[in-house]
Symmetry: C2
DNA sequence: ACTTGCATGTAAGTGGTTACATGATTGG
DNA sequence: CCAATCATGTAACCACTTACATGCAAGT
């Protein structure tokens, strides 16, 4: 999944600026697909316009910089639907936390506990975001399906982490007895 | 997580060649961490050796090309443990299947069904791999924790997909009534 | 005869990110 | 007064991947 396809996916259902596309890709449920920065989105949109898959119009705003609103063209819609017919790329799941967990026995218990708590907080934040996305307007049935899937998995991750994190902490090196504790 | 750290993580517990590291990163449970190709692993190992974090010895083999077995040094172990103390990068989850699912309403039902079945097969394959990894020798308790977490989540993904894929297919465009069906 | 597995390595290409440049407005 | 938000865009950089080069042995 590349930034080009991400742009077409977002523009398929609504107009948007490069700025908005970036926000959606980093925050909203679009982060399931690609996470992109300005440095890749703006050139991608320019290229898509060159290729006739999107058009743009400049909208001046009061007190804010003018924005360039992109819309998808019929050719763009067709190109996107074509892309959806292609064989799917593999799913990617990368967890620095799991690498950390694997080596818990090398690390002090207080660090392991802190990282596990951070991870739990991150997962809970994900759950909040998904629930929020579910309540936004303009959700299609496909969105609802994706959200339900994401929520089920994320809630299990939360539960597993919550109920098993102490097992992980138990593997860690016992905390150093603090010298001069009474001083 | 970069290829450099992946190499140190694998070499922490056993010697390995570049060839083996690649296999572990693409197949085994190491794919949770980074997936790397030869083009990144070999240069990374050479660099690590330059930096004194690993050493290598060449082992000639009968009927097979000689292999270069890398071992971690004390400096390497220290560098890896230091890296584990760093704040953790964010988890990455990217699912081309979920993007596809979101737009199921634009696609023919037979395509949606085919892709959902492929996805289910992929998830089942993941489960098989995780169970296999669990049975390998030399597993530490940290490994066991990571495997249990991965298995719990992957099994839920399988169940959810299995029980809800027909809902997704139902969103798709009804299959074209085949012309001349009787001819 | 061809493919697969073993095994190392390099060069070219790619798809991004980071940091910068610019600038007005609002809120702490 | 500084930081953040809105908003666009570029240039330099980076970490990878892909494809190639090499070569032998075993299985199909």
């Amino acid at each position: 999944m590349n930034v080009r396809t991400l742009c077409l996916a977002i523009l398929y259902e609504r107009e948007a600026t490069g700025y908005e596309i970036r926000r959606m890709s980093v925050e909203g449920e679009c982060s399931y697909f690609v996470e992109a920065s300005y440095g890749s989105i703006y050139p991608a949109l320019a290229k898509l316009e060159d290729d006739g898959l999107v058009t743009s119009r400049v909208e001046p705003q009061e007190g804010k910089p003018a924005k360039k609103v992109y819309s998808i063209t019929e050719a763009g819609r067709a190109a996107f639907v074509d892309a959806l017919h292609e064989p799917l790329d593999e799913e990617v799941f990368r967890s620095p936390f799991l690498l950390f967990a694997r080596f818990a026995h090398l690390l002090p218990a207080d660090l392991v506990e802190a990282r596990a708590k951070e991870q739990l907080e991150r997962v809970r934040e994900d759950i909040r975001k998904i629930k929020q996305a579910a309540e936004e307007e303009g959700r299609t049935e496909g969105d609802a399906w994706v959200i339900a899937y994401g929520l089920a998995i994320t809630e299990l991750a939360e539960e597993h982490l919550r109920t098993h994190m102490h097992d992980l902490v138990a593997l860690a090196r016992p905390e150093q007895i603090k010298k001069n504790a009474a001083e």
